[in-house]
């Protein structure tokens, strides 16, 4: 077990708080709509903020500048990288390293004290080099896991960038990998083996990052209609692991719908599934009791009990949700919407808008160690609630 995947923690070194991507903070939090701090950045941000053990923040913007701020949100350093960034960085829990993947296919390890590159690596790709999915760090293996639109996942040595293993990421991968406490990695990919090939479809699988050996957990074949082939499938939401209950949640987009699968480690099968009427692109979140929080492309937040039954729904009032929620131990839910609104939803499903940014919020918020909510926006501002 490592501190990146044990039960909820305070140090959010990666998107969703830890490698499970559950988005659940270690404590209850208190917030006030009147106490919002704004930090001006250089460009819009579509990447969640990550934090180190000292509370320093790392923000990657779409113009390709990495900003580090101290716990009081004052600037520490800025470091340009090659290409814009929409993938969440990841911070090493033991070493002073923060890992960045860019739109031009570069993977960086930056020194957290100075911002200077320790190493950088161009991820090979024949034609599409983008790294769009959040970085995953495996401290025990000392590996950083990413995927590229060149169609591969890579596990790289965290200190050197040398390749440890690789495996298929399928086509157009947006979804990041997740990992359990044993550093078994979980992924979703869309496979296109050729026109009408029966092997076409979406695979939810686990993989040993040391070897790249996979175990397929769920396979959903593509629709037989040509216009709804696997090439139309968005693979956007990351798997989410509920370590405590031994579950992993996968979102599979197919046709014009989406299905959430609840896969049990113990029973080695999906216990239930629920279908939504449009693709889902936001990674779900978890509440402290195991309820699952899904933000859909109708602009509605659904909360399901661990058995898949409906707990409540909350309409954000916007056309669609592009980013997922985070939650605290009191089951307060926070998420941003594409109109710049930040919603705070309580455990009974009563919610309100606590602040509004000038432009869209297109990434998942984060918590800092004190429980403050960090929300970057495309208006070049980091908001601290």
């Amino acid at each position: 077990m490592n501190e990146n995947t044990q039960p909820p923690n305070r140090i959010w070194r990666t998107s969703g708080g830890d490698n499970t991507r559950g988005g659940l903070f270690a404590d209850t939090t208190e917030h006030s709509a009147d106490a919002v701090q704004s930090v001006t950045l250089q460009a819009g941000v579509q990447s969640p903020v990550v934090v180190d053990s000292k509370g320093n923040r790392y923000v990657a913007d779409m113009a390709g500048v990495i900003h580090s701020l101290n716990p009081d949100n004052r600037p520490r350093w800025k470091q340009p990288v090659d290409g814009g960034v929409s993938a969440a960085p990841a911070v090493h829990p033991h070493d002073n390293l923060v890992f960045i993947g860019t739109h031009t296919g570069w993977m960086y390890a930056l020194d957290t004290e100075s911002g200077r590159p320790v190493w950088k690596k161009l991820i090979p790709s024949q034609w599409d080099e983008r790294i769009l999915s959040d970085i995953l760090l495996l401290p025990d293996l000392n590996a950083v896991v990413l995927n590229s639109w060149g169609g591969r996942f890579y596990a790289l040595d965290a200190h050197s960038g040398e390749e440890i293993s690789q495996w298929s990421a399928g086509i157009s991968p947006y979804a990041s990998a997740a990992a359990d406490m044993n550093e078994q990695v979980y992924c979703v990919r869309a496979d296109d083996e050729g026109w009408h090939d029966p092997k076409n479809g979406v695979r939810c699988f686990s993989v040993d990052p040391k070897t790249g050996n996979e175990e397929i957990l769920i396979f959903v074949p593509e629709n037989s209609k040509p216009n709804l082939s696997v090439r139309r499938i968005q693979v956007a939401a990351s798997p989410v692991i509920d370590q405590q209950r031994g579950m992993v949640y996968f979102i599979v987009n197919l046709d014009v719908e989406s299905t959430l699968y609840a896969y049990s480690f113990q029973e080695k099968k999906s216990l239930w599934d629920k279908t939504f009427s449009r693709h889902l692109v936001a990674t779900p979140g978890l509440l402290s009791d195991g309820s699952i929080v899904i933000a859909d492309m109708h602009g509605t937040v659904h909360v399901l009990h661990p058995d898949g039954t409906r707990r409540f729904q909350y309409p954000t009032g916007t056309d669609y949700c592009l980013s997922g929620p985070i939650c605290d131990q009191a089951n307060n839910i926070f998420l941003g919407d594409p109109e710049g609104n930040v919603h705070w939803i309580d455990s009974d499903g009563v919610g309100r808008i606590v602040m509004t940014a000038e432009r869209a919020i297109q990434c998942r918020p984060s918590f800092d160690p004190q429980g403050r909510v960090l929300i970057p926006s495309m208006d070049k501002t980091l908001y601290v609630l």
Binding site: M62, R232, V281, P338, R359
Partner: protein, 408 residues
């Protein structure tokens, strides 16, 4: 910023209205029964000729709320300064950006949230034109459906009754996939052509006083970016340029123009030869940008309005599959010169509108904005352009770039 008179086209001794310009272009094209492929000219840098530089304005509009859209557009158009006089007592044609079918979605999300112009933006714009005194507003596009009237627009969210009521019945919808109710097509010569020496089109695009390009704020795999200029790709009719043609023009055709204007594996079935032999087979990045410029040279756009509220990034349509993702710039943009306005749009998306050919965002082809500038159609270098409203820096909203195609 200095303003320049539009220099394309000029005939000695007079300045033409749009109708007069197009009448003469049509006459010139008709007078040459075979437009020879020997009429070739490479784009020459025309720095010695004044390049039009027109103001572009941009403002935030977060929601598809009709009242808010209309309010923001009215402020933008007033800031441009001369739109009221442009349309007063005029017939206005609005070329909409509705792409090739309304029957698809982006993962279940309706097309108008990502690919096509939202009907509320079109309605707000049309209602403003009517308020400004326009005689009539005609929405046009080549749509892949049989009806040539408003029925073809319904799948894109355009409700004729709503438009008619709001616009005091001064509205038409024309599917320009063929000649429609006109007896003939219009043959319009291209000055200083790249690939097309003339265009044969539905007369709605010439029998009008003002041509407006209403489009989305998107990038494009072959063209780099697609906004006011690329929107004119929908002008050539299916009946002569369509993919579903056999050996003869066909008034029943509804196909897109992939073979004739992307791959260039077929010539259009126009009444005279209108394409020269300079296209490159299967090189979309060579062909598409050049046709964009040829269209804009032939059909001067006098106002571009860009729906940048909710769009897709990384590519231009549902046919790009899982590559595209929805993004929300929350902007409306307007300008009086399509090259200038598209250049500002490209900069807002985080791109360099004067980027070198075969570099991002024009990763798969040539930069049609630069080519248009070299032909004197308008300025594309951002440092030479004035941006009003909230300004460029505040409007900037970086997109995830497109991919680099492998040509086989």
């Amino acid at each position: 910023m200095s303003t320049h008179r539009h220099t394309i086209p000029i005939c000695p001794g007079t300045t033409f209205s749009r109708r007069e310009f197009l009448r003469r272009s049509i006459a010139a094209a008709a007078a040459a029964p075979t437009v020879s492929s020997s009429i070739l000219s490479h784009a020459a840098e025309t720095e010695s000729v004044s390049i039009p530089r027109k103001l572009t304005v941009v403002d935030i509009c977060k929601r598809y709320d009709y009242a808010e859209i209309r309010r923001v557009l009215s402020v933008l158009l007033d800031e441009l300064g001369d739109v009221r006089s442009l349309v007063k007592n005029k017939f206005v044609t609005v070329k909409t950006n509705l792409v090739n079918t309304s029957k698809e979605t982006i993962g279940g999300l309706p097309l108008w949230f990502g690919v096509t112009v939202h009907p509320k933006v079109a309605l707000a714009l049309g209602s403003l034109f009517v308020d400004y005194g326009a005689k009539r507003v005609t929405y046009c596009d080549q749509l892949p459906f049989v009806p040539i009237g408003p029925e073809s627009f319904e799948g894109y969210g355009f409700n004729f009754d709503e438009f008619s009521h709001t616009m005091d019945h001064k509205v038409r919808f024309i599917n320009t996939r063929n000649r429609g109710e006109h007896k003939d097509y219009a043959l319009v010569k291209v000055p200083n052509p790249e690939l097309a020496t003339a265009w044969e089109v539905n007369q709605e695009y010439v029998k009008t006083d003002v041509l407006v390009s209403l489009c989305k704020l998107k990038s494009h795999v072959s063209g780099g970016v697609t906004m006011g200029m690329k929107n004119l790709f929908g002008v050539p009719p299916s009946s002569m340029y369509g993919d579903d043609l056999k050996d003869e023009p066909d008034e029943n055709a509804t196909g897109y123009r992939g073979y004739t204007m992307h791959e260039c594996s077929k010539k259009p079935l126009t009444s005279v030869t209108t394409f020269n032999d300079r296209s490159v087979l299967n090189d979309h990045g060579f062909n598409v940008p050049r046709f964009i410029v040829d269209l804009n040279a032939a059909f001067p756009v006098e106002l571009v309005v860009i729906d940048g509220i909710s769009v897709i990034q990384s590519a231009e349509g549902w046919w790009n599959g899982s590559m595209v993702s929805v993004t929300r710039p929350g902007l409306l943009i307007a300008g009086r010169n399509p090259v200038c306005t598209d250049a500002v749009g490209a900069a807002i998306m985080g791109f360099n509108p004067d980027a070198a050919d075969r570099t991002h965002p024009f990763a798969n082809g040539i930069n049609h904005l630069s080519l248009a500038r070299k032909k004197g159609l308008g300025e594309n270098r951002i440092q030479n352009l004035e941006v009003g409203g909230i300004g460029l820096e505040k409007a900037r909203y970086e997109y995830v770039p497109t991919y680099q195609r492998i040509n086989t």
